[in-house]
């Protein structure tokens, strides 16, 4: 390198906030190049296995019972779309966030550059939007191949699934950044994610639950995501219901992002 004693005179490029969020997103995309194959395989395989075993295998028994209006596969498939969006969002919002704070320290590296805490958070959340949407798109395609899509309105189930996933991702970001040890993740998985997966209307209508538990199920974001996806895939969604579900899921996203912003600041600005 040449002697350079006129450093101050150099012109400077200061990336604007869109560029900064983009650079944060860009890191996760760059890293994804190493692991994308595995995630694509599991994004295809999971719905195939679930729909074959439960939609068709178990579904035959359920259909024989004659308690549902249509085939069980049609009931189950869109519910699984929303539930899988939740799981993908959860997976992307736990260890990667803690790792970026504690282990790999990616966030700290970014903070030494023009990127600020909000750029880092928003870029990473956008990355989760991408992951949830792309895996949900694969899921939707598999559902279509299984013949479980009744209406072109089903295309709208894709943003609906993303909305459902992000209603989990945002608060989980807050949780992950406020937590010291990864042991909390096992508890979150066991006591929150899995029970919701099983009891929020994915596999059977919430009306089958004991009366006292029904309001709990209705309060979960997943139930709203499941209802939204199910009615969209079936082509029976009404605007009023859709707005209610979208509004409720958005509320979780806004509250989650606000909380995550608070915990990210507290964590990243005070400790090295």
């Amino acid at each position: 390198m040449q002697p350079d004693t006129t450093a101050v005179l150099r012109q400077r490029h200061v990336p604007g906030s869109l560029d900064r969020v983009g650079a944060s997103f860009g890191f996760w995309a760059f890293q994804y190049r190493r692991t994308w194959r595995g995630t694509v395989v599991s994004s295809v395989l999971t719905p195939v296995l679930f729909l074959a075993a439960m939609g068709i295998g178990l579904g035959t028994l359920v259909d024989d019972g004659g308690r549902l209006d249509g085939a069980y596969l049609l009931f189950l498939a869109p519910g699984l779309l929303a539930a899988t969006a939740m799981q993908t969002a959860g997976f992307e919002s736990m260890y990667p966030v803690m790792g970026a704070i504690k282990w790999v320290r990616t966030y700290h590296a970014m903070l030494a550059t023009p990127l600020g805490v909000s750029d880092i958070l928003l870029g990473h959340l956008l990355w989760v939007v991408f992951r949830v949407t792309s895996s949900a798109a694969i899921y939707l395609a598999v559902i279509a191949l299984f013949g479980a899509v009744a209406s072109p309105m089903a295309l709208l189930a894709l943003p609906a699934a993303t909305l459902c996933g992000m209603a989990y991702a945002a608060p989980i970001f807050a949780f992950s950044s406020g937590y010291e040890k990864p042991s909390g993740f096992a508890a979150l998985e066991r006591f929150v994610i899995v029970p919701m997966f099983l009891f929020s209307g994915t596999f059977f209508p919430v009306s089958q639950l004991p009366d006292v538990l029904q309001p709990v199920a209705y309060a979960t974001p997943l139930w709203h995501g499941v209802e939204l996806c199910r009615a969209l895939v079936a082509g029976t969604q009404t605007l009023a219901d859709a707005l209610l579900h979208i509004g409720y899921l958005s509320l979780w996203i806004v509250a989650g992002v606000t909380a995550a912003m608070f915990f990210f600041r507290r964590r990243l600005e005070s400790t090295g």
Partner: protein, 332 residues
């Protein structure tokens, strides 16, 4: 504004242009009453700092003295609890991204992505500064050469030695041609050879006019690199000056180190040498006698009938300054 070709060699294509006046006489770093509290604990207690352009400035102090908290405020990551802070004439609260665009940061703990290659670590980092891919690639080659890691460019970071990782971190911190380079404990945990290699790189940067701000608890590092330094203890400055000035003010020209047997009580010997010099420090394993004439004092010790196991006359260092100011040693 046109920039002479010779000055543009290390620059990158720009979109937003911000030009700083060459006649900027204000300090590159200017702090008054800078304070950082964490709850009840005061990490930095109202310090005043001015660092001029091109200066190499050091914070010397033991662990927990508030050095890193100060650096994190200067790095515009951690907002001050109280006080005024201006970096390159700008306010960290309002202009954080613009300031950080002109800083290079070598953190105490590595933040390299060990799963990525050496080259990829630089490429991804340059993108955070909004540099084009082509500009980052060109700069990366130049920097890998500067830190002598060209032949490891394609290797993963994980298996690199500690010294190589530090050199890579320094290369990364230079990707944006920073006006100020912040180094927090740059050589802690490295072996002597790696430290000297790193100092050599930093010295070259200093010669090139990069303003260096570093923290260290190694006196030799401070003496090697700093034009001016502050001795920091419990969040405050205990003294300020060039290494030479500090030694002249707070210590004597020479130090006589006396070691007696391992089972001897050094306090007893401290009484026996009383009157020979103005100041005696009692350490667990030795006595330090502060004197302007080491050999003369040595002779006087023997004249008193004392028989130390070993004697050593050496020049005063910043370690002695620190001991004088705080009553404690820098490195345990």
């Amino acid at each position: 504004m046109s920039v002479p070709e010779s000055r543009r060699q290390l620059s990158v294509p720009v979109a937003t242009v911000e030009v700083v006046d060459d006649s900027l006489d204000a300090a590159f770093i200017h702090a008054r009453g800078l304070t950082k509290r964490f709850g009840e604990f005061t990490a930095v207690d109202g310090i005043d700092v001015d660092v001029a352009r091109g200066e190499a400035f050091g914070f010397l102090g033991p662990n927990g003295a508030g050095k890193s908290s100060t650096m994190r405020m200067i790095g515009c990551v951690s907002p001050p609890t109280e006080g005024t802070l201006r970096i390159l004439g700008m306010d960290p609260g309002a202009d954080g991204p613009a300031i950080r665009a002109r800083l290079g940061v070598v953190p105490q703990q590595d933040t390299l992505d060990t799963e990525l290659s050496v080259r990829e670590n630089l490429l991804i980092y340059g993108r955070y500064f909004g540099m084009s891919r082509a500009a980052v690639r060109a700069k990366t080659d130049e920097l890998l050469d500067f830190v002598q890691l060209t032949d490891r460019a394609k290797d993963k970071v994980e298996p690199l030695s500690g010294g190589m990782k530090r050199r890579l971190t320094i290369a990364r911190s230079l990707i944006n041609d920073p006006d100020i380079l912040l180094l927090d404990e740059p050589t802690t945990g490295l072996d002597p050879q790696a430290r000297h290699s790193l100092w050599d790189r930093l010295f070259r940067l200093k010669q090139r006019g990069v303003t260096l701000v570093l923290t260290t608890h190694y006196m030799d590092e401070a003496e090697q690199l700093c034009d001016r330094l502050v001795v920091m203890d419990k969040g405050r400055f205990a003294a300020e000056g060039s290494p030479r000035e500090l030694i002249a003010t707070y210590s004597t020209r020479e130090v006589l180190e006396l070691r007696f047997g391992p089972d001897e009580d050094n306090n007893v010997y401290a009484d026996k040498v009383e009157g020979l010099v103005d100041r005696v420090e009692v350490l667990p394993d030795r006595l330090l006698l502060y004197t302007d004439d080491g050999d003369g004092t040595t002779a006087a010790v023997y004249q008193r009938g004392l028989l130390p196991v070993s004697t050593l006359v050496r020049r005063s260092t910043l370690e002695d300054v620190f001991l004088r100011l705080t009553g404690r040693t820098l490195v345990d």
